[in-house]
């Protein structure tokens, strides 16, 4: 029996990183949907109901604010959010925003996959 793949919504305003991350996660066995415009994440998430969202912090509409909105949207509030960033205070921002986990860039794909799996399972 084939286990259904977990669906990950990845949002980053850096197209290179968005591209690379989605490819790596697909390699790691996830179904990946992407969004470069952070303002559209809420609508897309409502439409596509991902199992988890991986969101960058430093974007025009910042990842921490987006996390707060997601957590306040009834349809999305139960979907885990993982913030990832190259910012040195990223971990603190993620914690204050109420994100489920934080991953520092550059990341190791194995660690990232492990964290994504752990938040889905939680």
């Amino acid at each position: 029996m084939r286990v259904p793949m977990s669906k990950v919504l990845v949002c980053d305003d850096d197209n290179d990183i968005l591209d690379m991350t989605s490819m790596l996660l697909e390699f790691a066995g996830f179904q990946v949907i992407t969004q470069i415009n952070s303002n559209k994440v809420i609508d897309q998430a409502i439409a596509e109901r991902p199992d988890v969202m991986l969101i960058d912090i430093w974007m025009p509409f910042p990842g921490d604010k987006l996390t707060r909105q997601i957590k306040q949207t009834p349809q999305l509030s139960r979907i885990p959010v993982v913030l990832f960033s190259a910012a040195i205070n990223g971990k603190m921002i993620a914690k204050e925003a109420g994100a489920d986990r934080f991953v520092e860039k550059p990341f190791d794909v194995e660690n990232l996959a492990a964290i994504i799996n752990s938040v889905i399972a939680a």
Partner: protein, 975 residues
């Protein structure tokens, strides 16, 4: 002789019928209820003659028997004695075990008879019936034997006789068995037991099977022999044998008891008159025997009592005028033991003439029942009829009356009390003599009293004078003591104050001084020196004004006052001393000073201290000025809260920063909190509260950064407040003081720096992120295609990216540290939660090592959680970095001595001992081949130390090269 009362007591104590008869007429002296029942008489027979009381016995031999006892002293015991007595008006035959014994006085003379009686009528009647049956049996037997030859021919008659026999035998057995006494018949030839009732068998201690057997077979040899002998005696003598009070041991209720029996062994004869068997009748008299023993014991006791008390007994038969005196009474009156006594001839005549009338009157009074109730109690003198000696006697008696109140008997006792009376008389005589002497003494006493009064008056005067003198003396003594005490105190005070004394004799211009005063001048020689010599030892600069002061004191206008401080130069030791001298000059009538004396005290130390104080005050002033300029320069605002009275002081600068009204004190501190940024209000309140809560470890310190909200006139400000709470000894907060510094610009600058560092970090890392991602993709692709070369290249490129990333982090750390201090934002949290967060973080990210987190108890701390977590993560990352893959890392947090110690232990390469002291130093890196592959600037552990030390904690490492290291830190635990 027993008194009537004693007699009655005696007979009442007996369980069987008993009576005491006295005199030849056998007067009933005492009789108990059992005897009255036997006689069928009432108690009023007491005092009557026997034959008057029980006339029906006149011709029955009892009177004669008692006469015999009374005259001969011989005891009579009469078992089954028969008496005909009037019961309910009819004469009845009764049987008694009777006993008659003589009653003797202390001289052994018989004065009465004791008679006891046990009613054995029933027993005797049975016995007689038995005898009758036996006699019948004997008759039959005789008949049988007489007509032996006729037997065969007269079979019918025999049969009839046999039947009669059987019936008679059965009746006999019945009678035998129901008899109240032990009864049995023994064959006088074969000594077999013909018959025996249960009582006899019981007496013998055998059962019914013994019947028909010879005595020798069923009884002990002793008993058997005794009984056989008795039977032989009866058989041979042909008459009955009696045995009274025969002692027998018998088993009753499982124990052997001593019993007494009266036995009758009676011969039973055949028709020829031969004794063919012997009937035994045994009646138990144990109770009677015991009672008799009791009577004997009482009699003996009474006799002894009489003997011991030396009293004599008299007993006067008033009616017959017969007087009985016992031996003792006779002795008192000097009458021969055998002489017949007469009331008048012996008693009345024997009394002392002076006492006779009185004593005889006492007897007459005793005879008057109404007057005295028969009581007689008198003391009199007796003239010894034999030798004429006089002795004093006390007589006590009781007269007994008949129903007409006529005196019948008068009995009592006499005691010789001559000794006591003589003693009493002597005492009385001595009392009279004493009385006379007393009177004489009294007269002398009165005279003495008069003299005494005179003396007393004189004495009182003397005493008054004496008291006055004593009080004066006491006053003087007290004053003297007071003076001594004062002197002593003064001496102590002078010694304690280190004071010396001096005295200037102005007339001779000589100074005398004590040892201490000489010391103060550094002088050790003469006690008296010229005044000029003293002046020499003064400091030259002070000499003029000392002189001036002395001159002033010697001027009468000054009233002699002298009080001055000056320096001396030690005469011998050249030491500089400061002296304080006080003195007074004394003037004569002409106003000329004649003496000038005082004290000197060394005040060198005080002077030096005062100089130092002056210097210190100057320095303080200088510092204050410096502080003020610093405060002004730093633009510090000051606060001072009186926590007891709730008064708040803020200086002008503080008020300016907080935009407060221009006033020195405030009664309410809410105005300050109203100015704060809403997000910071609670944090500031908590920090202030913590500072004002007594805690020795925190020492009431307060250090916080917060924002002041923007107003129309001023933008938002950042301030740093540093303060301290002062507590009483009991721990009550008293004051909360401190300063605030406007750090808005500093904050903005810091923010700009953080922003810059953040941007640099982000911008430098972003491309690395992409690069790293693509390299991982390449690596995965190569692995998938089994392209070893590409896989190796990608791995190496990825390591370089990692190195680059670390270098960027390192540069940022250096930049952060280099720019200034690390800000610590303390908040309460649980160390267990922090370790748990680290655990979940590492579980997801560390796959190369096994990280074991030991359970942590609830550990409250007040610290900057992010910074402490940064330290722990740093330790864990270092452990991963410097220990081989697959090894174990242990993380623990344990509280000890109010400090929580967090440890991270690895199984890595370890650190050389020489490097251990420096691993937490800035930019320090351990040299060695193995270190070349690791990255870093030596800034991470330095940062850790900075963070921990700012928390008032400790940090350290233990390490063994090749075995591993344990990094640890400690911070205080809150309550």
């Amino acid at each position: 002789m027993l008194s009537p009362y004693a007699q009655q007591t005696l007979v009442n104590a007996l369980p069987i019928g008993a009576a005491i008869f006295t005199g030849p007429e056998h007067l009933i002296g005492a009789v108990n209820p059992q005897m009255l029942a036997i006689w069928s008489k009432e108690a009023d027979v007491t005092g009557m003659k026997l034959l008057d009381a029980i006339p029906e016995i006149r011709d029955q031999g009892f009177f004669e028997l008692m006469n015999d006892v009374y005259t001969s002293g011989k005891e009579h015991h009469n078992p089954d004695g028969q008496a005909e007595l009037l019961v309910d008006g009819q004469l009845q035959t009764k049987y008694f075990d009777l006993s008659f014994k003589p009653l003797r006085d202390s001289a052994g003379r018989i004065y009465g008879v004791v008679n006891t009686a046990v009613d054995v009528t029933e027993r005797t009647l049975y016995s007689k019936q038995l005898q009758q049956v036996n006699e019948e049996l004997s008759a039959v037997n005789e008949e049988m034997e007489a007509s032996g030859e006729e037997l065969r021919t007269a079979y019918d008659q025999l049969e009839h006789t046999h039947d009669t026999l059987v019936i008679t035998s059965q009746i006999a057995e019945l009678l035998l068995e129901s008899a109240p006494v032990a009864v049995g018949v023994i064959d006088a030839v074969s000594f077999k037991i013909d018959t025996a009732n249960t009582k006899l068998l019981e007496l013998w201690g055998v059962d019914r099977q013994a019947i028909g057997k010879p005595l020798a077979e069923v009884l002990s040899s002793f008993e058997s022999e005794l009984l056989t002998n008795l039977i032989l005696k009866v058989r041979d003598a042909g008459h009955s044998l009696y045995g009274n009070d025969v002692k027998t041991m018998i088993e009753r209720g499982g124990a052997w008891a001593t019993t007494y029996y009266n036995f009758v062994y009676q011969p039973i004869r055949n028709g020829k008159g031969e004794v063919i068997s012997v009937q035994i009748v045994a009646n138990e008299v144990t109770d009677q025997r015991n009672a008799k023993a009791d009577v004997d014991a009482v009699l003996v006791q009474l006799h002894l009592a009489q003997k011991a008390a030396h009293f004599g007994v008299f007993d006067l038969d008033v009616v017959n005028d017969k007087l009985y005196w016992d031996e003792r009474t006779r002795k008192i009156f000097g009458v021969d033991p055998d002489k017949a006594i007469g009331y008048s001839s012996d008693f009345a005549e024997g009394l002392h003439p002076n006492d006779r009338e009185r004593t005889l009157q006492a007897v007459i009074d005793a005879y008057d029942q109404q007057l005295t109730g028969g009581v007689y109690d008198v003391e009199y003198r007796v003239v010894d009829a034999a030798n004429g000696n006089i002795c004093w006697v006390k007589a006590v008696g009781q007269v007994y009356f008949n129903s007409e109140a006529e005196p019948q008997r008068f009995v009592g006792t006499v005691v010789d009390i001559t000794g006591a009376v003589e003693a009493r008389q002597k005492l009385e005589a001595s009392e009279v003599q004493q009385q006379e002497l007393n009177e004489e003494l009294s007269a002398i006493n009165e005279e003495l009293s008069a003299v005494n009064e005179e003396y007393q008056a004189a004495n009182e005067e003397l005493t008054a004078m004496n008291d006055e003198l004593r009080s004066i003396q006491e006053e003087r003594t007290l004053l003297h003591r007071e003076l001594e005490i004062r002197e002593e105190r003064l001496r102590f005070a002078m010694k304690a104050a280190d004071v010396g004394t001096w005295d200037l004799d102005i007339v001779n211009n000589q100074v005398s001084w004590d040892e201490r005063c000489k010391e103060l001048y550094g002088f050790s020689k003469d006690d008296v020196v010229p005044y000029e010599q003293v002046l020499k030892y003064m400091h030259p600069d002070d000499m003029p004004h000392v002189n001036e002061a002395v001159m002033y004191a010697l001027d009468p206008a000054s009233n002699g006052a002298y009080d001055i401080e000056f320096r001396t130069i030690g005469a011998e030791d050249q030491r500089l001393r400061w002296l304080h001298c006080c003195g007074k000059a004394f003037f004569d009538d002409k106003g000329s000073a004649y003496r000038f004396s005082g004290i000197a005290q060394d005040i060198t130390v005080q002077k030096m201290q005062a100089d130092e104080l002056t210097l210190t005050l100057l320095k303080v002033k200088e510092k204050e000025e410096q502080l003020t300029s610093a405060k002004e320069a730093a633009q510090l605002g000051l606060f001072d809260w009186d926590l007891v009275n709730k008064v708040y002081n803020w200086d002008a600068r503080f008020r300016e920063i907080f935009n407060l009204p221009d006033q020195d004190t405030f009664q309410d501190n809410s105005v300050v909190f109203e100015r704060l940024h809403p997000d910071d209000v609670e944090r500031v309140r908590q920090a202030a509260k913590r500072s004002q809560t007594y805690d020795r470890s925190s020492g009431g310190s307060y250090d916080i950064q917060y924002r002041i909200s923007a107003t129309e006139h001023s933008p938002e400000r950042w301030v740093r407040a540093i303060g301290k709470t002062l507590f009483s000894e009991e721990g009550t907060p008293l004051r909360f003081i401190g300063s605030v510094l406007d750090i808005t610009e500093q904050k903005q600058e810091e923010q700009r720096r953080i922003d810059f560092i953040g941007i640099v970090s982000h911008e430098l890392r972003s491309p690395l992120t992409s690069l790293n991602g693509y390299l991982q993709m390449l690596e995965m692709s190569a692995k998938k295609n089994d392209d070893q070369f590409t896989n190796n290249v990608a791995a190496k490129a990825k390591r370089q990216v990692g190195k680059m990333s670390s270098m960027i982090t390192g540069f940022l750390d250096v930049a952060r540290v280099g720019e200034g201090k690390i800000n610590i934002d303390n908040k309460p949290f649980d160390m267990a939660d922090l370790v748990k967060a680290a655990e979940s973080e590492s579980l997801a990210t560390i796959t190369s090592h096994t990280v074991i987190y030991h359970p942590v108890e609830h550990t409250p701390v007040l610290a900057d959680q992010d910074k402490i977590e940064q330290v722990l993560i740093n330790f864990i990352n270092n452990a991963v970095k410097y220990s081989p893959q697959g090894t174990t890392i242990n993380v623990s947090a344990v509280t000890q001595n109010r400090q929580v110690r967090v440890c991270v232990k690895d199984e890595g390469m370890g650190i050389p001992a020489k490097d251990l002291p420096y691993v937490f130093d800035r930019f320090y890196r351990v040299d060695g081949e193995h270190m070349k592959t690791t990255k870093g600037f030596g800034i991470g552990l330095y940062l850790c130390r900075e963070i921990i030390e700012r928390h008032g904690g400790k940090i350290g490492v233990q390490s063994t090269l090749g075995e591993g290291s344990t990094f640890w830190f400690e911070i205080p635990v809150t309550h």
